[in-house]
Symmetry: C2
Subunit: 602 residues, 2 copies
């Protein structure tokens, strides 16, 4: 978002200075800014990338706090390395979230600010949960959160407008359940939770409920909208230009009334004061929440998130088939990479990045990549969630390893796969780390666990094999995956602090890793579906059905570290990969895959 020829560090310093001038004019002691849109989306449109605009840091998670004389950027472990590079020479200090002795931003603010001062936050672009957490923590110090100051408009010249992308319907042959039936499912849960009104803040909630996809944001299905469901009607708030007449008619036939996006505040403000309104503090912005204050607000489970988290049989039929085609696209990419290497043709992170999208885009039902592919050669692979661009491209040579974490969003589902492949000479360290990651990966892939198991318990099971060898990773172990929607979705999350349960019917990733700064990164990731394992006197046990078919490079294993059992799993898996992918490949690719999937013996 820089203008051509600008010194990026100087630009950041100037933008921070502009915010400070605004703070002074408005008697604010600090301002908090994230890349947060009115719908708390993880990936937003340029208009709402205020934090990226001011700091130059483009990770998907990060919050900047500016006081009169200091500034701090809080981000999670996925982004420590790239955030460090971003804040260098800008006067912004990096705070590594969840590391020992690193204060939370509200703790830091409490120690920096004088009593009785105010902190500016844009109420439309921050979740209820954030505002409440910060307010509670700062209350004791007499510091107030002022949520009615949309300061970004004043300091961001040429701030981009909200996008105007069209939405398009997802046929019921893919969604599995029609809009009217989904609305009925939601109402049933509303009755159980004893609410009569339910405001959907997050846009993928509306997309699931009303069976559509949006095109507001590059590489996302996001569109900016709200849905208000009551026991009698459904109102869908969206810019009318985004919906075709035909689509509008179909939605109205399913009982959905279209309303202008801009009217949501007034509608919510006019709700009956006896209305029992379900909200999810994590998914709703503060400004809209305040308009509900006259009603009986009820904080409960996010009904749509729970419903869409459990995939139906139609979705799974498509997703299983989709992941086979996706595995074939990856194999084609690998074969292309090795061809380039062999012939000495140009090969770099950026060319691989482009080739990945090209291979996936050949599929008829391709919508967009699931996220900006991570292509990390050697040292770059150790930078979690680093995204290559044409400008900071890295050439690939015939040595070391290449990490590729990528996926596609298709009408038939959303995919997310990570593999590491050798580019040439590798050493024993690569093999040990690769094999330990594989052992951790396999531990969770093969786990059996009772109903009620939490994400944190599964996370511990996955990490244990590499912990015994003194290795670990700072990111989570896995996340829920939407069906043709967001690649990260709740409610489940496999991480050390997740108390959410892994329920039957959920689709998740399993993706442990080991990272050696400046040397290489190794991560292995498959998608899994939670299915029944057994029921006995102790209750119902679940297990994971593997969904991803993509080979593990055989040269990267230290076979002595594998048990017989693990080796057998690997050989069985490779037989299945070969069998399933072959029909989607040409002969030279099949030959390569056959070699990759050869039986391994000690």
């Amino acid at each position: 978002m820089l203008n051509q020829g600008e010194d990026p560090k100087q630009t950041v310093r100037e933008r921070v200075a502009a915010l400070r001038r605004w703070m002074e004019r408005n008697d604010m002691a600090a301002a908090i800014l994230a890349n947060s849109d009115p719908h708390t989306n993880e990936y937003s449109a340029e208009r709402w990338m205020g934090r990226e605009w001011i700091t130059g840091f483009h990770g998907s998670n990060g919050t900047v706090v500016v006081t009169t004389d200091k500034a701090g950027l809080w981000t999670d472990s996925r982004y420590f390395l790239i955030a460090e590079m971003a804040v260098e020479e800008t006067g912004i200090e990096l705070f590594r979230m969840n590391e020992p002795d690193v204060p939370k931003l509200e703790e830091w603010l409490a120690s920096e600010l004088d009593e009785g001062r105010s902190v500016a936050v844009m109420g439309e672009e921050v979740s209820v949960l954030n505002v409440e957490t910060w307010s509670e923590a700062l209350k004791g110090n007499g510091i107030e959160i002022a949520t009615d100051r949309p300061f970004l408009d004043e300091i961001w010249e040429d701030r981009p407008a909200a996008p105007k992308g069209q939405i398009y319907p997802v046929p019921v042959d893919f969604a599995g359940v029609g809009v009217a039936d989904k609305i009925e499912q939601v109402r049933e849960k509303m009755r159980e939770q004893q609410v009569d009104t339910y405001l959907l803040g997050r846009t993928d909630e509306s997309a699931w409920l009303l069976n559509f996809k949006g095109t507001d944001v590059t590489n996302r299905t996001t569109t900016f909208c709200y849905t208000l469901v009551t026991l009698e009607d459904v109102r869908f708030f969206i810019d009318p230009d985004k919906v075709t007449t035909e689509h509008r008619d179909a939605l109205e036939q399913a009982g959905v009334t279209l309303c202008d996006y801009e009217t949501v505040g007034d509608t919510v403000g006019a709700l009956d004061e006896e209305a029992r309104v379900l909200i999810v503090p994590f998914y709703l912005n503060q400004a809209l929440y305040q308009k509900l204050s006259h009603t009986r607000v009820n904080r409960g489970r996010a009904i749509v998130t729970d419903l869409k988290g459990r995939k139906n049989a139609t979705e799974m039929k498509h997703l299983r088939e989709c992941l086979v085609r996706d595995g074939a696209a990856l194999v084609k990419t690998y074969v292309w990479i090795y061809d380039q290497l062999r012939t000495g043709a140009p090969l770099s992170e950026w060319t691989v990045y482009q080739k990945l999208e090209e291979m996936r885009a050949r599929e008829d039902d391709f919508a967009h990549v699931s996220f900006e592919s991570i292509v990390g050669y050697n040292g770059t692979g150790a930078l979690n969630h680093y995204t290559v661009t044409e400008e900071n491209d890295v050439e690939i040579h015939p040595e070391g390893v290449l990490l590729i974490d990528s996926g596609g969003t298709f009408l038939s589902g959303t995919t997310d796969t990570t593999r590491v492949i050798p580019m040439g000479k590798i050493h024993a360290g690569h093999k040990t780390d690769y094999t330990l990651v594989f052992k951790s990966f396999l531990k969770l892939m093969r786990a059996k666990f009772p109903q009620g198991t939490t994400g944190a318990q599964l996370d511990g099971i996955c990490r244990e094999p590499m912990w015994q060898h003194g290795r670990t990773y700072k990111h989570g172990t896995g996340h829920g995956v939407g069906f043709g929607l967001e690649v990260h979705e709740g409610p489940q999350n496999i991480s050390g602090i997740s108390a959410e349960k892994m329920e039957k019917g959920m689709v998740s990733t399993v993706e442990p890793g080991i990272y050696r700064p400046d040397e290489y990164g190794i991560r292995l990731e498959n998608m899994v579906f939670t299915i029944d394992a057994e029921s006995n006197a102790f209750g119902d046990f679940y297990q994971f059905e593997n969904l991803t078919f993509c080979p593990f490079n055989p040269d990267l294993f230290d076979l002595d570290l594998l048990t017989d059992d693990e080796l057998n799993w690997l050989n069985d898996y490779h037989r299945e990969v070969l069998e399933r992918l072959t029909p989607h490949l040409e002969e030279p690719e099949v030959e390569w895959l056959r070699h990759e999937c050869r039986e391994l013996v000690r």
Copy 2:
């Protein structure tokens, strides 16, 4: 607490009726009652056992809710079986907490009560956290929590008075750190958290800070008191009759002012409105919290809980030695049990219960048992946390298995050990289950894990081996243990939902189990100390030092289920048990132990 000769079920029905009459007189739609004292202690004095008085259910965790026409008891999985027996024929419905489809009490109330009604709660005897959780959940339904109704006084005739037990000082040779130094440690953390006043609600927090033990409650070190720490002074609120003049002088010399227990409310109410007061919502009662409303209340980490959770070198020196003597006391008890069996002398759960206390009480520094010993023969062993009494005694015969979970509280530390021993004929099922429990136990005992690992991750690691065989248990995997204080203490907790970290210096239990209703229960429990394992590029890794020395019965293993590694650990452990306990035993006991600790080979 029943009077002699009463029909317990009839008594429960009458007491519930008395509460309903009070509710009607006071226009209350419901009342919530737990065994909760003003200090949120887990084990309280009889005066505050309102839930036990009204329901007859004596588990350590349980809350009863009474409406005009229904009543429910909520308790956790440890007590499902005994709670079921307790509520039978009383008209009270049992709600199994954390089971699928079981509503939380506030959800149930929301569905039962009409809008605009009130629920009576005794503000002095309920934590801030509980009141807030219930209020938040019921707000949407227009239901209010009324916390100013001490109804128990009106319906409980002859309600016992508060106890008057003396407190006595713990010498610094045992505590490791003197009172003045502990106060300074606390103040340092207060400055870090930017508070100037800290109100200690829970009684073991005061006992740790001021190095004393109380005698208000049988088998507890509890005394009813508060401590108010500021950066300038320390006020200790306690019934003055409980403190000797000498002890009072010593406390005053350390900078502690004694104040009458009854004056705490006025003192807190008179705090300066600029005071930044640290409170812990889980440890403070609602009535006292309300008296703080004019100050700047700050919710932060429970400083004393964090400090006392990490044991110092003096405490550990005593605890290690204490656990060897405790292991010897257990071996003496086992030998006595087998003598009784062999000679045909009377043997029952109750006689074992008494013998356990007798063996521990022989130690000079014995204070009391850590908790009511669990002695469960065959089917009784499957009843988690069932406590035998003289009245419901069960005879032990030469067949099946006996579970013993017991511990002592000494000046030198608090112990907690569980073993299962065969009483005679056992079958293959016993062995499989016992060995699987052992494998889960060992998995966690030998785990290596990085700084920052949560209780939930460790819980998953422990359960995984038995999950793979389709077994699980409904209680937590482990808890923190106080030094000569409570046998359950925070902050850490090894359970599926605990996001608390396992820090270096903590003492915890590891206690997986398998329970077969009506057949038997198997649980194996050692205490562990978190120590350094290694530090490397990935950070600091910890491991557990084993603290408990007590044999595992060799006849209960299915050796084919153990790996070589597990078998070696067991043989090494038994060698160490024999070596350490022998000096504390007589010859016939040593001979028995030698056989119990014999080298096992496949």
